[in-house]
């Protein structure tokens, strides 16, 4: 039979020779292989102290964005909730009252915005769906928790810190994607 | 210790074995009681081997080792007996799903 790929290795089914039936040489060979691994470089790292750089397309926890003046960008249009295949997003809209312009960028805003992190599959569709660049996926991942309700993230968990009041925290939360404010999901 | 205490001990063990063999119907337990009897005899043999050591055995030490070697041989025979006996019991259990010795009277007729 012709091989489809060149990776095919023909397995010998001949009866074992005497040395092979002794097994000892094979065992010693195996032991030598494992022993040699003692001196190999370890691919693992001490995680919390050292971290590997994420790949540019990594999709972590969602973050609700603010603009330069610290106003929430979200306008509660619900497109993200519609786009979500796991139906993890719940939101309630509210109208911006006068005097709240410094809080919300648009006239409508999300009074309640919840993502169930146990359901979320981190596909990033919400980010793509958002017309306002109000949501994007960061480079952090969900920490563990003792209870289920701890995994339902509300607005206070999701909102990015205020860039004016806490610029360092804002910069940190933005992560490396700050260099590309447009984000990767919206390139088309 | 006087020899009589060893005699009493092994007779007591032997008789407990006999009682067990008489009263129990579980073949395995009967078998174990037989082992118990064998062991009581072993104990007695060892005790006797130490009994006349200052007298007779001082002249002929082989007499004293004899008893202990008998014990050794009894153990050999017991081991052989157990291996076959247990095989028979397992076989019997496979056939009758019981280890009651009263079912073992097939040879009767």
């Amino acid at each position: 039979m012709q091989a489809l790929t060149n990776k095919v290795e023909v397995v010998s089914r001949e009866p074992l020779t005497f040395w092979e039936r002794m097994y000892l040489p094979a065992i010693l060979k195996g032991m030598a292989i494992t022993f040699s691994h003692m001196f190999k470089k370890k691919p693992t790292i001490n995680y919390p102290e050292k971290k590997r750089p994420f790949s540019p397309v990594f999709r972590g926890l969602q973050i609700l964005n603010r603009d330069e003046e610290g106003r929430e960008k979200c306008t509660a249009c619900g497109l993200c909730a519609v786009a979500c295949p796991a139906e993890a997003i719940t939101m309630e809209a509210a109208e911006r009252q006068p005097g709240e312009e410094h809080l919300y960028k648009e006239e409508k805003y999300a009074a309640k915005y919840e993502i169930n992190m146990l359901r979320c599959i981190f596909c990033g569709f919400c980010e793509e769906a958002c017309p306002k660049d109000a949501i994007y996926l960061s480079e952090t991942f969900a920490p563990s928790n003792f209870q289920r309700k701890g995994f339902i993230y509300g607005k206070d968990d999701l909102l990015i810190p205020d860039p004016i009041k806490e610029p360092e925290a804002f910069a940190k939360a933005r992560g490396s994607r700050a260099a590309h404010p447009e984000g990767h999901g919206n390139e088309h | 210790m006087e020899i009589k205490w060893y005699i009493f001990l092994s007779v007591a063990l032997f008789c407990i074995g006999v009682i067990g063999a008489l009263t129990r119907r579980n073949a395995i337990i009967v078998f174990m009681c037989i082992e118990l009897m064998l062991n009581s005899v072993n104990l007695l043999l060892v005790a006797f081997s130490k009994m006349h050591l200052s007298g007779i055995a001082a002249k002929a030490p082989a007499l004293a080792t004899d008893a202990q070697l008998f014990v050794f041989f009894i153990m050999v025979v017991a081991a052989a007996e157990v291996s076959v006996g247990l095989a028979i019991i397992v076989m019997m259990y496979r056939n009758t799903h019981s280890v009651d010795i009263n079912f073992l009277n097939r040879l009767k007729n």
């Binding site: - | 006999v18 063999a21 008489l22 010795i101 073992l104 009277n105 097939r106 040879l107 009767k108």
Partner: protein, 642 residues
Amino acid sequence: MRNTFDLVYLIPLLPLIGFLINGLARNVLSRSLVSIIGSGVILLSFLLSVVVFLTVRHEGFVPQIISYFDFINVGKIKVSFAFQVDQLSSLFLLIITGVGFLIHVYSTSYMKEESSPHFARYFSYLNLFVFSMLLLVLGANYVIMFIGWEGVGLCSYLLIGYWFKNTSYNNAAKKAFIMNRIGDLGFLLGIFWMINAFGSVSFHDLFNDENGIITSISGLNSHTMVGITLLLFVGAIGKSAQIPLYTWLPDAMAGPTPVSALIHAATMVTAGIYMIARSNVMYTLAPTTMTVVAIVGLATAIFAATIALKQNDIKKVLAYSTVSQLGYMFLGLGVGAYTGAVFHVMTHAFFKALLFLGAGSVIHAMGGEQDIRKMGGLSKHMRITYITFFIGCIAIAGIPPFSGFFSKDEILAGAFANNPVLYVIGLGGALLTAFYMFRLLAMTFMGKFRGTEEQLHHVHESPSAITIPLIILAFLSIVGGLVGVPEYLMNGGHRLAEFLNPIFSHSNAILATHEIPHQTEWILTGVSTILILIVSVWAWKKYKNYQTETAEETGFAKVLQNKWYVDEVYDAIIVKPLKSLSLFLNNVIEKSGIDGLVNGVGRGINYGSRQVRLLQNGQVGAYILMMVIGTIVLFIIQIFAK
């Protein structure tokens, strides 16, 4: 000198090792390895034999007895496991290992269609056979000889029945075994008698020139001597296929052809000759037995030759020819021409092995066909086989200067010296030999091919592993006779006789054969040669253009074709009565007598046990209870008995 004989034990040991390796590892070894081991050990033995032979040839060689350990040590009888190396045994060593090696080589090709384990099995049997045969000729006493004697019988049985899936082959094997057993019994009884009469079985003790037991017994033709020699002769009859125990040999052709060549032509069947030659002193002292030997030998020679005239199976012809030639050898022994007999053993080993191997080559080429009526014209296809076979025929027919001529002539000369009647009959046998051999040759190789088309297509010259042994044997058949050129032909004369003189000197001294004048010898030789030539040419002409006959043979020819109905006669006078006796014993004595007794006892016990059985109620507890009660009673008796 010592060093040479230190290694003698290796000669039989090597084949034994070969047997063990091939026999035990037959499922593992490859065919080529088996061939190398099987033939190699024989080759090594042969080389050692040559060394031994060269040592023995020295002037003034004294027979060496190399003793290894005590084999039997009971009372006054002491039989040691010892080898004796002297002129006779060294000669036989050469024949056995030399011819044996050639046949091994031949077999590597002949048997190559067998599956690997069977191939190895075959070679292991062959090696075992060579081992036994070497033991037979090397043994320094009759007991060791008997071990080898039985060993070759066993190997013969194994090899005849090599294709054990065929019932008739098995029967042939059994027949050979049983016939041999009859003879062996005689041999064994002879040994017992010997132990009883002389207290020793060692050749050295018995036949020593100075102080041998036999030589010190002066009684010529005493009862003891005649009895022992006759019993030994019975053994020889069985092993060497003489009347009346010859029928196994033709049947033994069931085995593979090389086996027939090795066992049933060259070596095993000559064991009887060897044995008698070995005990020549005893035979010389028993002229009655000598006469019996001569008559039996001559009768066999003629009888078998007549049967061979009408056989159509190529191997059967050769088999009867072998029986006939063995008869000649016995004739030679019987008339006191021991050297001639041994000489004939040697030449016969060469040309009969050659003929058998040639026959094997033919059968091989014909795809297993053995009937010469279906052959013919093979000379065109198989030149080497044809030429070598032709040489063999000339040799066996006794045409000078081929080997058979010298040996046969010597025997006949011996017979003439003894009694001219024997000579005339012997010469008649020789003519028959020439006739059937040339008939065989002509029918096989001349004329038109009478087999099927397919066979014709198949016919080809055999491979070199077959032809080279043939060529070597053919060469030996031509020149082998030169070691025994009689004195009247050449000055310095009979070198073999000189060589063997130490063995037979004592007998020769007693026999004091009257020399035949050289003129008489010339005449005898001339007459026999001319007659043989005429008969050969006649047979050649008659059968050269043989056509397949459909007509049934009639009259005497039919009797011959059916081998004088000997098998049938045996069946009628031995087998049938035995069978009916056994039946009688089985039906009457066994059933009513012995069985009645046994059953009566059984019935009595049966009744008794039926009564006792009631105690055994099948409850284990009850048994223990009985035991306990019994113990208690015993102890109570013990207490109150005081």
